[in-house]
Every structure is written in structure tokens, then in C-alpha cells.
Amino acid sequence: MSKRRIIPGFGLSLGFTIAYLSLIILIPLAVLFLKAAGVGWAEWKDIFGSPRVLAATKLTFGLSAAAAGLSVVLGLLVTWVLVRYRFPGRGMLDAMVDLPFALPTAVAGITLTAIYGKTGWIGSHIAAAASWVRATWKPTGWFGDQVNSWADFGAAYSSLGIFIALTFIGLPFVVRTLQPVMEDLGLEIEEAAATLGAGRWTVFRRVVFPLLVPALITGFTLAFARAIGEYGSVIFISGNLPMKTEILPLLIVSQLEQFKYGSAAVIAASMLGVSFILLFIINLLQRRLDWQNR
């Protein structure tokens, strides 16, 4: 037990770390949970029974999962190319992957809206394609509504816009989780598989991919957790129509603006509960990854 005190400074660093952590993070979060707990059970039921909250919950979790899923697919492709191939500009692209981490969310929000909106570089093509689909097939129902919105506004002000913004935010989480695992993958197992007569696709599917699955799941969970709470990059492109394109963080803000502190606290505490469970899962997965990489 005396070993841990060989290096001086235990008391000072322990005291400062705990005090600062409590003041800045733990006490404020505890206050939020207490506030939410103080709201009566009936009101909790009212809040989560209201169609607007339900719609926002479905939208937030559904689109976050979909975007994290697309991030995994695109992230796998990008990481494979960055790790396995050498081509001019590779170093710069590798550095650029972190852009969504470094670019402030408000900036990401307005520029994504500009590009994927009706007059944007990509949005104009989306609008043109949607107009053509609308004129040709005249789709109805949910898909018809989406096509109408795409034809009129490009990807902005619809679920598609939120989906694009969340994928933008999620991509670096997948790449940065996958990259170290892929770099450490020895070529020997692939050579062994090849000598046994496996084709390249079989080697990838049966040998390489299974080794990447834990990292892919971790990347998915990280991207998903971030997407649920994302605010700045989404609110500009989403248009914020209640019941249609309103995400949960925005709903909290609108409750606050109406001075409904209780229901803001309830929604926030529920979101935090989900986030903490996800954080716990990520920790477990990370431990497994560290063990695998050892």
C-alpha cells in the first residue's frame, strides 16, 4: 500500500480533481435529475404521452440509428482505403476525416443547409431528381410527402437533411475507432487464408470482417450516442417543424422558451439516462477492443 505514495501529490491532485469534477459536472447533473424526479408521475406520463414528444423521440432515435448505420458503411470503406492503399493526397484526406470534430456545429449546420438545400450544389440535383420522380410516378403516402418536400426544398427541411447532418457528425467516430484496429491487423492471416485457396472476397468476408466487427459496433454506438444529442448541425437544415422535423434537443429548447422547466428537465433527464447506458456499453466494448488489440 505504501507503493502508491512513492510519488508525491496524491492528496492535492485527488482533492482538486474531485472538487472540480463535482462542482462542474456532478452537482449540476444531480440538480437536473432531482428536478426531473420532483415532477409528478402524472406529468411524466403526460409528457411522454404527448404526440409531439413521441414524434420527436421517434425521429431522433430512428434517424440517429440510420445515420450511425450509414456512417459504419461509409466509414468502413474510407478506413479500408486510408489504411490499405497508398495514393497522392492520402495524408491530407486522413487529416480531413476529423473535420466534423473540429468544425463548430453551427458552421456545419449552415454550410450543409447551403449545399443540400434547393439552390445548393447537391441540393439542386436532389430537387431535380425528386421533381422527376414526382412527375413520373406520382408517389403518395409518406414517401409522396418526402418526395414533395425534396422537390420543393432539396434535402433541407426534411428528415433527409437531418439524416445527412447526423451522418456528417458520425463518420469520424467510425473511422477513428476502426483505423487502429485495421492497422494492427496482421497480413499473415490473410496470406494463410489465400494459401488455403480462399479468394479475395472470401478472405475479407470470412477472415478480416469478423475481426472488425467489435470496432464497427463501438463506432456505431459512439456515432449513435453523439447523434441523439446533436443540436447545432441539425437545427438549420431541419426546419424544425413540430411533429415532422423537430428533434429532442430542440424540443427541450422550445419547452424552456415557454418556461416549462419541469418538462424540459424530464425530457433532458430521460435523454441523459439513455446516453449513460450507451456510455456504459461503449466502455464495455472498448475494454473488449483493448483486450483484442493486446
Binding site: I110, A114, F236
Partner: protein, 307 residues
């Protein structure tokens, strides 16, 4: 050559994969980045510079610098202390502490702002009226100081704030919200780095009779300087770019509690798109600078590790 063939794809497959990855990165990363600059300059350099030299832009830049200027040093201090604690000692609850440090990453920015309204808002646990009561003795002292001292201006300002201690919807709220969201960045960089370096050198320094501070300055700090610099850069980028948390606590008082990202939002919602994007170029350049420094730091520290 057969060896090479077995562990890579045929040339056409490689080319297709590289091109698809380039397309993905262009659509999601490069185009949005170019978009910022293209939109900013759409109506010419004059509009661009006018947007950057406007008074509201100046005060937004000033507040952004203040918020980062307080939160980055505080969280750097915390990061050093926390990393020292969890890498130099083994104690009960250490694993829990490491998880708790990561907690703010799991908190939506909106919630990071909301908690401060729950505490310091009018209906909060410590509303301004109650704070004013607590701080009344201090306010009297500051008023006396303002009357006596030669630098009365400063004390007058302090006395004025103490008499009406607003935190949310004012500058202090912006600062603490920024501290909250940038909390883990430095610690997150340092903990794995210091863990991998071990404590051998520090223990050797102890046997040679060095004091704790001396060990920190002369042994630990030189070993972690690049990781520390990178953590500080990331922390700073987030502090200057934070939007959701400061948006919730700011109350949107233009020219008083707008940081640069909030100012961009105000301009954008007023349909002053070119001006909004002009201000956004500042933050985009900051992001590029951070990424560039990251590659640089990675290269330098990679070299020194090999030596």
C-alpha cells in the same frame, strides 16, 4: 509478387474503392468546407469585410475569446491534475473516476446549458435574488472599495454585478457552459499517454530526492508536452465553436451575450447569409488550423518516439 497479390485487391477494384472513398469524403467533408468560403464571398469582398468589422461581430469575437480564455486554462489544470491522479496512483474508485471524466461527452450540448438554468435561473435552486442576498456583504465591501480606491472603475463594475448577480443570460453563464462542454478534452488526451509512459522516470526522480513540483516540471511535463498541446488545441477549438450549450444560457441578447457561433445564427436567421458565412470562415479557419496542428504534432511526437 505473389505475396502482394494475395493480400491486396486487383487494380480495378482498388481504383473503384479509392474513387468511392474520395466521393464520400468530398460529399460529406470537402464540399461543406468549400461551401463556407464560397458562400462567404458570394457577394464580394466588401460585404465580407463589412460583416467582420461590424460592432456586433467584434463583441461576439471578444466574448468568444473570454469564454475560451477562462475555460481552456481551467480545464487544462483539471486535465493535468486528473491525469496525474489516475496514472500515478492506484486507489479505490479509480475506474469509476475515469468514466466520470468522460461523462460530458455523453451529454447533449442543450442539456449542458439547461443544467445551469436549473441552478441559476429565476426558478432555479440559486436564483439571482438569493445569490444577491448571499453576496450582499461582498457587494458592500466592493462599493466601499470603489469609493476609496483609485481604480474605482473596476470595483464599481464588480459591485454592480454583486448587487444583481446574473449568471444565466449573461457572460458568466456563457463561461460556465463552455467549461462544462470542454471539460474532458485535455484529460482525455493525457490519461492514455501518461498511462503508456508509466511512472518509472518519476520514481527514479523521487529516489534522487526531487520534490513533487520539480518532478512535474522537469520530468513529466517534457514527456507529455505534445499530447498536452494537442489536448489544449482540441479544447480551445470546442470552446470557441460551442453552440448548443451557450445558445441555451445566452438568452440571445445581441451585442451582449453573443459568442461568434451565436452571432452567426442571428445573422443567418435574419437572412444575412453572406455575413453569417463571413463570420463562419473565422471558425472554419480555426478548425483547419487545429487539424493542421494535429498532423504536425502527430508527426513531431511520432519522430521523437522513434528516436
Amino acid at each position: 509478387m505473389a505475396n502482394l497479390q494475395a493480400t491486396t485487391e486487383s487494380k480495378p477494384v482498388r481504383v473503384v474503392l479509392i474513387l468511392s472513398a474520395l466521393t464520400v469524403l468530398s460529399l460529406f467533408l470537402l464540399l461543406p468546407l468549400f461551401g463556407v468560403f464560397a458562400e462567404a464571398l458570394r457577394r464580394g469582398w466588401e460585404v465580407f469585410f463589412a460583416a467582420l468589422t461590424e460592432d456586433a461581430a467584434f463583441s461576439a469575437i471578444k466574448l468568444t475569446l473570454i469564454a475560451a480564455g477562462v475555460s481552456v486554462p481551467l480545464n487544462t489544470l483539471f486535465g493535468l491534475s486528473a491525469a496525474w491522479l489516475v496514472t500515478k496512483y492506484r486507489f479505490k474508485g479509480r475506474a469509476l473516476l475515469i468514466s466520470l471524466i468522460d461523462l460530458p461527452f455523453a451529454v447533449s450540448p442543450v442539456i449542458a446549458g439547461l443544467v445551469w438554468i436549473m441552478i441559476f435561473g429565476v426558478k432555479g435552486w440559486l436564483p439571482p435574488a438569493m445569490m444577491a442576498e448571499f453576496l450582499a456583504p461582498l457587494a458592500t465591501l466592493a462599493k466601499q472599495a470603489a469609493a476609496n480606491e483609485s481604480c474605482g472603475g473596476l470595483f464599481e463594475g464588480i459591485a454592480g454585478w454583486l448587487a444583481d448577480p446574473k449568471i444565466v443570460f449573461a457572460t458568466p453563464g456563457i463561461i460556465i457552459a463552455t467549461v462544462f462542454v470542454t471539460f474532458p478534452f485535455v484529460a482525455r488526451e493525457l490519461i492514455p499517454l501518461m498511462e503508456s509512459q508509466g511512472s518509472g522516470q518519476e520514481e527514479a526522480a523521487v529516489t534522487l530526492g526531487a520534490s513533487g513540483w520539480r518532478i512535474f516540471w522537469r520530468v513529466t511535463l517534457p514527456n507529455i508536452k505534445w499530447g498536452l498541446l494537442y489536448g489544449v488545441l482540441l479544447c480551445n477549438a470546442r470552446a470557441m465553436g460551442e453552440f448548443g450549450a451557450v445558445s441555451v444560457v445566452s438568452g440571445h441578447i445581441r451585442g451582449q451575450t453573443n459568442t461568434l457561433p451565436l452571432h452567426i445564427e442571428v445573422l443567418y436567421n435574419e437572412y444575412q447569409f453572406s455575413a453569417a458565412f463571413a463570420c463562419a470562415t473565422l471558425l472554419a479557419l480555426l478548425a483547419l488550423l487545429t487539424l493542421g496542428m494535429k498532423s504536425l504534432v502527430g508527426r513531431i511526437s511520432g519522430h521523437s518516439a522513434q528516436e
